[in-house]
């Protein structure tokens, strides 16, 4: 049995760890609230842009944007993988990456190639280690992601799509269901599904005036729509990340409590055993005299 001193040191170290996990839990809780607000804040833009796009596609039937056209043969699929930058958030990234890997494997078996845009350190590291073709990436988004940071990496993927190097683009991220539940999801980003844009909520159409011209405006609109979708995924992923971290750290704090309890018990037992032993030695000594 370990000596009393060793156990005391061990208890102290577990207590210190517990302090850290507790602090991380509290930080994650407050960050989660902010991340949730950001997630909600991003929604109106997405809705508005969807409405405008719906009006537009109804008003302008003769111009088929490449983003809306489905391709007959799919030779390469692009994945935009959104993960967190930091670890210690339970199974969040593992689950999302496993989902991605399964989807990739399926494509691979049918001879489809893969290209990846990695958003977040964890996914980037994973894809790189395992030899995936990462065509663009962005890491270190911090606590407040900005659309500006995403423009470049997304454009690389979109350019590849427009150039025909990629025939489909999917978006992987972790959906925030509630504090206790986050679900990894794969969504098709390109070509944009008709239902994603939807129908205008009016029975009649307007002929728009365009400045400078219809094509430019639509192109601008489409790229912004895509960016808004990705940004929303990033914001949602961040809320999920902090929720997952909060839960994981809460579990860790509880575990530390249990470990401390067990160690304390062990310590008391050792102490008592030592006292008993000493007493019996004294008694034996006294009896021998």
């Amino acid at each position: 049995m370990a000596g009393g001193k060793e156990i005391r040191t061990k208890i102290k170290s577990v207590k210190n760890t517990q302090k850290i996990t507790r602090a991380m839990e509290m930080v994650a809780t407050s960050k989660m609230r902010r991340a949730q607000e950001r997630m909600r804040g991003a929604r109106p833009y997405g809705e508005k842009i969807r409405k405008v796009t719906a009006h537009l596609s109804a008003a302008l039937v003769d111009y088929a944007h490449p983003f809306l056209q489905k391709r007959d043969t799919v030779k390469r699929v692009g994945f935009i993988v959104v993960t967190s930058d930091k670890g210690l958030c339970g199974g969040l990234n593992t689950n999302a990456l496993r989902l991605t890997l399964n989807a990739m494997k399926e494509l691979h078996q049918s001879g489809v190639e893969i290209a990846v845009t990695a958003i977040g350190n964890k996914g980037f590291g994973f894809m790189n280690r395992n030899g995936a073709k990462v065509i663009s990436h962005v890491v270190g988004l911090g606590d407040t992601p900005h659309v500006e940071q995403l423009i470049g990496p997304i454009k690389v993927m979109v350019d590849a799509y427009v150039a025909g190097e990629v025939d489909e683009v999917r978006l992987v991220y972790t959906k925030f269901v509630n504090t206790m539940r986050q679900e990894p999801t794969v969504e098709q980003l390109l070509p944009l599904a008709g239902e994603a844009i939807g129908q205008p909520d009016h029975g009649y159409n307007w002929e728009y005036l365009y400045e400078p011209d219809a094509k430019t405006v639509i192109d601008d609109l489409m790229i912004r729509y895509l960016e808004a979708l990705v940004y929303q995924a990033v914001a949602e992923n961040m809320a999920s990340e902090n929720a997952a971290r909060m839960v994981a750290m809460k579990a860790a704090t509880d575990n530390a409590d249990k470990v401390i309890g067990n160690l304390q018990l062990l310590y008391n037992k050792t102490r008592q055993a030592a006292i008993t032993k000493e007493l019996s030695e004294i008694c034996a000594g006294a009896a021998a005299v």
């Binding site: 790189n128 280690r129 395992n130 659309v147 423009i151 470049g152 690389v156 728009y208 400045e211």
Partner: protein
């Protein structure tokens, strides 16, 4: 009753302004434009500049917002400004894309480009196993 229209100014990150107005002036692609209710449907790019909104309640002061670009949609009674949070331009975006590409290529140096599924699977399995152990530890002692 004076005619009014609904105005929404949104960026990808947040809702900036929402309310009713009787006049808006905006820096459109081909110059400053003024919009009154029942304007013809219009879609235009917005250049960086000031957006001035005259609220429906004439006692309220004008709202002046800075937009760094974006798109403006006008319908007879609804005006939507999709504002950019960043200064945009074809060449700026291009530069960003090139920069992202370059960084990716640097990171990719010496890589084959084919996913090693076995290795990836192993890595994930390890992570899952670790999580399972943690889960067990959590349950123990309950």
């Amino acid at each position: 009753m004076a005619m009014t229209m609904h105005v929404d100014v949104v960026s990808a990150e947040e809702l900036i302004y929402s309310g009713t107005a009787e006049f808006i002036s905006a820096p459109a692609d081909k110059g400053e434009i003024g919009i009154l209710p029942r304007h013809a449907p219009l879609l235009t790019r917005v250049r960086p500049g000031a957006l001035r909104i005259k609220p429906a309640n004439s006692n309220d002061p004008d709202v002046i917002l800075y937009v760094s670009g974006g798109l403006l949609e006008v319908q007879p009674h609804v005006v939507t400004v999709l504002a950019d949070t960043a200064i945009r331009g074809a060449d700026i975006d291009e530069a960003k894309a090139l920069d992202a590409k370059r960084r990716a290529e640097e990171a990719l140096k010496g890589k084959t480009g084919a996913v090693d599924f076995a290795m990836a699977q192993a890595e994930l399995l390890e992570a899952v196993a670790k999580l399972a152990v943690l889960e067990k530890l959590k349950k123990r002692g309950h």
